[in-house]
Symmetry: C2
Subunit: 217 residues, 2 copies
DNA sequence: ACCTGAACACCGTTCAAGT
DNA sequence: ACCTGAACACCGTTCAAGT
C-alpha cells in the first residue's frame, strides 16, 4: 500500500490545501487522511513549518530552472516569470503556502531567486538594484499567478458561478458615490479573465518595468 | 481609564502584531493585554476575521486618498503608490495583515483600489486591463512596503545586527555551485537598503511598467 | 449595552513507549 | 527506523448569565 513518505505527505497536504484552503491543512486532519496517527508526521517533518516548506518546495520543483543559455536577458527573464506563473497557477493554494513560509528555506525557490539575480545582474543593474528587482519579480509572479476564483479545481461550474455572483453583488452594493469605479467595473473585476490574458498581459506588465529601468541607464 | 472600544482593541492588536508578529495577536492574549475577558472582544467584533479587517482598515486609514485633481495620471499614480508604501512601511505587520484579510471587506482599501482603477482608466487601458493593473499596483505597493528586517521598531540595533548576521550566514553557507549569485550577493541581499532607496527605486519599477504599457498602445 | 464564566471542539507539540 | 498513546498548553467560539 502507499507507504508513508515525506513526499506522500506533502502531496496529500497540497491536495487538501488546493481543494479546501490552506487552513484545512492541519497536522491532525492530514494524519487522519493518511490513515495514521498525528505524531507519525513528526517523524518525517520536525514541525508544521517544515511541512509547509516541503509543500512550497514541491510546488516549485515542477518548474525546473534552466540555467544559462545565450539568448538576451529580456527573453530569459520573460521566460522565467512566465514559467513560474504557469507552475504556480496549477495550485490554488500556492500563494498562501509561499506567504507563510520562510522563502529562504525553500531550495527550489532559492534556485529561481538565484536565476533572477543573475539575469538582473547581466541587465546591468547595481547589486542593490538586483536584490530589489529579484525579490520583486518573484513576488509579482506569485501575485499574478494567484488566479481569480474561476480556475479553482474541485468546484462545479455552478458553484463557481454562485461564488462569482456573490462577489459581484458585494462590490455592486457598495456606495456608488464613494467607490464609483469599483461599482461600475464590478462585473469584469470579479469575472476574472482567461488565464492567457493574465499570463501575457500580467507578465508584460512586470517585465516591462524592468526593461524600462534598464533602458534608462 | 481607557474604555474598551473597537478602536482601542484594533490599536492594541496592531501594537502586538508590529512588535511580536501577527501570530502573537490572539483573542485571548489581546484580551489579557486589555485587562478584560476574551469574550469581551466578541461584543465589538463578530469574530477574529472582523478584527483583522478592522486592523487592515486602521492601517490604511492613515493614508487619505485624495481624489481627482488635474495633474497627469502618471504623477497621481506615482503619488498613490508612494503614499501607500509610506503608510504601510510604518507597520511591520502590514503585509501580513493584508494577506490574511478579504481585502474587499476593508473600506479604506477599497477607496485606494477605486482610485487606482480610475487612474488606470484615464491612462487609456481597457476595463480588463484596469482590473489587472489596479490589483497589481496595490499588491506591489504592499510587497515593496514589506521592509527588510532593519526598519522594525522594538528591537535594539544589536538585536537587528544579530538577525542580519544570522540571515547572511544562512545565505552564505548555501552550496555556491548551485546558487552562485545568492552566495555572492548575500551581503547586500540581507543588508537591506535605506527606506528611501526602496521607496524611489521600487516605486519607479512598478510605475514604469504601467507607463511602458500605456505608451505601447 | 456591555461584559463575565463555564464549556466545547479544535489546534501543535513533547515525551515516553512500543515494534 | 518508524509509529503509537497519553498528555500539555494553547487556540477560536458559543451560550447562558450577570449588571
Amino acid at each position: 500500500m502507499g507507504k508513508l513518505t515525506a513526499r506522500a505527505i506533502v502531496e496529500r497536504a497540497l491536495e487538501i490545501g488546493d481543494a479546501e484552503g490552506l487552513d484545512a491543512v492541519t497536522i491532525r486532519r492530514l494524519a487522519a487522511d493518511l490513515g495514521v496517527t498525528p505524531m507519525a508526521l513528526y517523524w518525517h517533518f520536525k514541525n508544521k513549518d517544515q511541512l509547509l516548506i516541503g509543500m512550497a518546495d514541491h510546488l516549485i520543483l515542477g518548474f525546473g530552472v534552466k540555467g544559462g543559455d545565450d539568448r538576451p536577458w529580456r527573453d530569459r527573464l520573460r521566460e522565467l516569470v512566465e514559467g513560474l506563473v504557469r507552475v504556480l497557477r496549477t495550485h490554488p493554494c500556492a500563494k498562501n503556502v509561499l506567504e507563510q513560509v520562510d522563502q529562504g528555506a525553500v531550495p527550489s525557490f532559492l534556485a529561481v531567486w538565484n536565476e533572477a539575480l543573475g539575469l538582473a545582474r547581466t541587465a546591468g543593474f547595481t547589486v542593490e538594484e538586483c536584490c530589489l528587482i529579484s525579490k520583486y519579480l518573484l513576488q509579482s509572479a506569485i501575485s499574478i499567478a494567484d488566479a481569480p476564483v474561476h480556475f479553482r479545481p474541485g468546484h462545479t461550474s455552478e458553484e463557481i458561478a454562485e461564488i462569482v455572483r456573490v462577489k459581484r453583488l458585494g462590490l455592486q452594493s457598495l456606495p456608488a458615490e464613494k467607490y464609483p469605479n469599483l461599482v461600475e467595473m464590478a462585473g469584469p473585476m470579479v469575472a476574472g479573465m482567461t488565464a492567457d490574458f493574465y499570463d501575457s498581459f500580467g507578465v508584460d506588465l512586470v517585465v516591462s518595468g524592468v526593461e524600462a529601468l534598464a533602458a534608462r541607464r
